[in-house]
């Protein structure tokens, strides 16, 4: 339940990378035309798809998008499959166990172990033009294609709070400055940093820590897998934990926020009860929707290393085709449409505040702020393929970070993470 969020959101970081790679990609706008051309002749099929449901991407949103596709492709029906409160990956596992998998799944990142479950899309030439496609390749093969990129090494802030506390967002570059700013915000009567329960707690820590760690050591997770580094033995990791713990101790982060759902926490921030919010670019459309984007600003994640950090990026709206699906052709056609069609991609990007070179949509001031950060960043990093943590890690990390609120020390947390990691790879 908690797990999905993290990597989905972390995934959002990949968006950043995606955005960065826009510069290189120089891709295409012709995708849509060819996509609809060949799907039009696809035979009738009944497709089931697991998608990510969030405050931005509602059931109604997806149904509307799929209705467009159905209209253009008579005979094809697309049915959205709900996941309840579990993650897309968990849902897929359940469906596989039940022997009734869907045709397409969104928000599941294949690993070397699970790649065999999905259709190899390497032969499909259109995939080459999709964002971040190379970062997610497994053994040189493409299984996952997305519509855009998300960036996540971002801190959103309440402009009014910053004015009251006499702060300048542009001057917050180091963790020390960030911590000091929180003190001033607290004195000004704000909850300095908004968090929430569910998966949010661990996810925010990941965004905070990994921006520094992965900029410095791009293959950190691979090294952890191989046992070359440990959580407790890594100086940067410990620094992050200690900084986070100090925020908890000083009341910059509120323990009671652990009782809030993701959406509740976000609402608190949007309502001006808290001053800062670590979140991915998908916060932008939420602020837009609340007609409040002008009240908020954004800056790049503070770091103990070089500033600015690379952007935690991930592929946005990533799709895989399930190998067991009997509608391979129709499923691939739909994925092609979802990741290359101008209208579809534009709609997906706008709905979740994502980026992609060659595809534009009207951005709010906040969206442009994110775009600026992306342009200035030295690139992105993506936690996929070799750089993907063990399954279950996000849930465990989330638990451990939450335990910092009730007395665990940074050292205990790091050691517990090591114990957990090693117990999974015995």
């Amino acid at each position: 339940m908690k797990g999905k969020g993290i990597w989905r959101r972390v995934g959002a970081v990949a968006v950043v990378a995606g955005a960065a790679s826009m510069v290189l990609a120089g891709c295409s706008s012709n995708g849509s035309a060819s996509a609809s051309a060949d799907t039009a002749k696809a035979e009738s099929a009944h497709l089931r798809i697991i998608v990510n449901i969030s405050p931005n991407l509602t059931v109604a949103y997806w149904n509307k998008l799929f209705a467009k596709y159905e209209k253009a492709h008579p005979g094809v029906t697309v049915k959205l499959e709900r996941t309840g409160t579990i993650s897309a990956a968990d849902k897929l596992n359940q469906d596989l166990a039940a022997g009734d998998p869907p045709d397409i799944v969104q928000q599941v990142t294949p690993s070397a172990d699970t790649a065999k479950l999905f259709t190899d899309l390497s032969k499909e030439s259109w995939t080459k033009k999709t964002p971040l496609v190379d970062n997610y390749k497994i053994n040189g093969k493409t299984y996952l294609v997305g519509a855009g990129e998300q960036v996540q090494s971002l801190v959103f802030y309440n402009k009014e709070a910053f004015t009251k506390a006499g702060l300048d967002a542009a001057k917050i570059k180091t963790v020390a400055q960030f911590t000091k700013a929180m003190g001033k915000l607290k004195d000004a009567g704000y909850v300095p940093l908004q968090t929430a329960g569910q998966w949010v707690t661990g996810s925010q820590f990941t965004l905070f820590n990994d921006s520094t760690t992965m900029t410095k050591t791009p293959d950190w997770i691979k090294k952890r897998r191989e046992g070359d580094v440990t959580f407790a033995g890594d100086k940067d990791y410990m620094k992050s934990l200690k900084a986070y713990k100090s925020w908890v101790d000083k009341g910059y982060l509120q323990k009671s926020d652990l009782g809030l759902a993701y959406a509740d926490g976000q609402t608190n921030f949007l309502e001006g009860k808290s001053a800062m919010y670590i979140m991915g670019s998908f916060f932008v459309p939420a602020a837009d929707q609340a007609k409040a984007s002008d009240d908020f600003g954004v800056f790049s994640m503070p770091t103990t290393g070089t500033y600015p950090t690379k952007q935690f990026s991930n592929i946005a709206d990533p799709y895989v085709v399930v190998k067991q699906s009997k509608n391979q052709k129709a499923a691939i056609s739909l994925v092609k449409w979802l990741t290359t069609d101008k209208t579809a991609v534009g709609s997906e990007l706008a709905a979740d505040g994502n980026f992609r070179k060659g595809y534009t949509y009207t951005m709010s001031s906040l969206g442009k702020g994110v775009q600026k950060i992306v342009d200035a960043s030295p690139g992105g990093f993506v936690e996929a393929a070799d750089e993907q943590p063990l399954p279950g890690y996000s849930t465990e990390l989330n638990s451990q970070i939450q335990s910092l609120y009730s007395g665990s020390t940074p050292k205990q947390v790091a050691e517990n993470l090591d114990t957990w990691w090693d117990s999974q790879t015995q």
């Binding site: 499959e81 309840g84 409160t85 759902a261």
Partner: protein, 290 residues
């Protein structure tokens, strides 16, 4: 009646002494047990702002039916729409359960052999099987049978889980029915199956009512088996799975949470109030004998 009053009389005086403790105990029940029900009921008719600012209050001038109407007409996770499906599960499982458990209980109850008693033990062992955890392997069995993600699969699985306690209760009851009745029927030329259904079964009414109540409430409230056995492609929701799936969508919107929860409990509460005596005695017997 008179005897009872007579017996009670002398105690009345003494009871008055300890009344304070009893009154406090009972007074505590009202907020503790009634409070949640009150919150559920009242907040289903309030606006989001009223729920948040005064969850215990009743702003009479601003009470609204709108949230309830919205929930009833909602196109998604509609709890009311899931009543029918849930009821269908309950009815079909009840029928299968009685149809299978009745004759089996009869055979077991009327046997004097030790081996048949073993059969009872075989069924009783089922009460140790943690249903929730065994749903996982059950999926693979249903898959082999081609029944996965289907109404039939769910209903058969649910029926299987109700058999142990149902058979046990009915065996206990049949044992109290004199054997002479069977013999009389058999002399009249009735087969055993017919003897059971026409002569014995009507005498089992109390046991059958107990079994039906136990099963029906259990099935209506069941969450794990429909959640896991009712696959995604079936697109059917029971009351619990509809609430569960929906709630992740609207956790922050209390004008959806409360009306939906209210709609989910309404049928059971009505049933409970209407059949309270039967339910209580049914569940009590079910527990102590099962």
């Amino acid at each position: 009646m008179t005897a009872e009053t007579a017996v009670r009389m002398p105690r009345r005086r003494r009871r008055e002494r300890v009344n304070v403790g009893r009154v406090i105990m009972l007074a505590l029940l009202v907020p503790l047990m009634g409070g949640p029900a009150y919150i559920l009921l009242v907040n289903a008719f309030k606006t989001q702002q009223d729920i948040q600012s005064q969850p215990f209050g009743i702003p009479f001038d601003r009470l609204t039916l709108q949230p309830l109407i919205d929930a009833i007409t909602s196109p998604e996770y509609n709890v009311v729409a899931s009543y029918g499906f849930t009821a269908a599960i309950v009815v079909v499982v009840d029928v299968i359960c009685i149809a299978l458990a009745g004759p089996a209980a009869y055979v077991i109850a009327r046997s004097t052999s030790r081996k048949t008693r073993l059969l009872m033990l075989y069924f009783l062992a089922g009460t140790f099987i943690p249903g929730a955890a065994m749903v996982i392997p059950a999926i693979y069995v249903l898959r082999t049978l081609g029944l996965v993600n289907s109404f039939a699969g769910l209903v058969l699985y649910d029926s299987a889980t109700t058999l142990p306690v149902s058979i046990f209760l009915m065996v206990g009851y049949i044992a109290t029915v004199p054997r002479d009745i069977d013999q009389a029927a058999s002399i009249d030329g009735a087969g055993r199956l017919r003897t059971f259904w026409t002569i014995i079964f009507p005498l089992l009414r109390p046991a059958v009512v107990t079994v039906l109540i136990l099963n029906s409430i259990g099935l209506w409230n069941d969450f794990v088996s429909p959640q896991i056995l009712l696959g995604p492609s079936s697109d059917q929701y029971t009351v619990t799975t509809a609430i569960y799936t929906g709630i992740s969508q609207y956790t922050t919107d209390l004008t959806k949470v409360f009306p939906n929860l209210l709609l989910a409990v309404a049928p059971v509460i009505v049933f409970f109030l209407y059949m309270q005596r039967h339910i209580i005695s049914g569940l009590t017997v079910g527990a102590t004998k099962g």
